[in-house]
């Protein structure tokens, strides 16, 4: 029986991708903290993860040579605009403290996913070894 990496690694691989995307979205918020009229955006993590896990976007394959759409979540669709806590004169909605803490939190979550994946890989390695 061939080893199915998708099954073995679970949703952590997806989570890693989304967290990398979120890092990019949050970093552009922080970078644009001084840009007039910039509207801060963030990724709805839960929504994409559900999309990528569920069959919301899955296509029916009628032939064995079709590429599976499983796990190809709508990465770009879930970028949502932030509601500003307080309005600013230049129309910028970036709350720097919030964005920075979100970025730091996201970095930790990314490392958590990495740790989980490392655990999975180590588990597999253990299974492969005969001793």
């Amino acid at each position: 029986m061939p080893i199915n990496f998708d099954k073995a690694l679970g949703s952590h691989e997806q989570a890693l991708k989304i967290q990398a995307r979120r890092a990019s979205a949050l970093s552009s918020n922080i970078v644009n903290a001084d840009t007039p009229g910039y509207k801060a955006r963030d990724i709805d993590f839960k929504q994409i993860l559900n999309n990528s896990k569920g069959d919301m976007l899955a296509m029916t394959s009628t032939d064995s040579s079709h590429i599976s759409t499983q796990g190809m979540g709508s990465m770009g669709m879930a970028l949502k605009y932030r509601m500003p806590n307080q309005p600013s004169l230049d129309g910028n909605t970036v709350d720097l403290d919030m964005e920075k803490s979100a970025y730091a939190e996201n970095a930790v979550r990314y490392q958590t996913s990495l740790r989980f994946l490392t655990g999975k890989f180590q588990g597999m390695m253990k299974a492969f070894r005969e001793d």
């Binding site: 918020n29 922080i30 001084d34 910039y38």
Partner: protein, 137 residues
């Protein structure tokens, strides 16, 4: 890979903020310039930031910041009577450049803080990428 984007984004921010620091230093250096002619006078310069938009899979998203132009302040230059100044006009007046030192200092602190933020972002992204390279070890 998205984490590589973070480097581009933070890099664009650092470049924009250093342009801002540059204009601040230019303004501060010329803060005490005087001229007999209003039109030849040094005027405070300020960069205008704009978001760089990028099309990713059919929807636009921000991918950094850039300086679209440098604007000169339109604030009226103050005039003072200094007949002994070699730059004074025939009426004996010199015009003082319209740089506001307090504004420039605040601008400088803000730019340097933003620059530091960008460096932090880049550092964090770098650590994440290095951790990813070690995945499975």
């Amino acid at each position: 890979m998205s984490l590589f984007n973070v480097f581009d984004i933070a890099g664009s921010g650092m470049s924009a903020q250093s342009t801002r620091l540059n204009t601040v230093s230019s303004n501060m250096a010329n803060a005490n310039n005087v001229s007999g002619n209003k039109d030849e006078l040094y005027r405070a310069k300020n960069p205008v930031f704009a978001t760089v938009m990028q099309d990713v899979k059919g929807n636009t998203q921000s991918s950094g910041v850039r300086v679209i132009r440098i604007e000169e302040s339109t604030q009226e230059a103050s005039r003072r009577y200094e007949p002994n100044n070699p730059l004074a006009n025939e009426m004996g007046y010199v015009y003082q450049s319209n740089v506001n030192a307090m504004e420039e200092m605040a601008n400088m602190i803000s730019a340097s803080r933003s620059y530091q933020n960008n460096v932090e972002i880049m550092n964090t992204a770098k650590q994440l990428m290095l951790a990813t390279l070690k995945l499975g070890e």
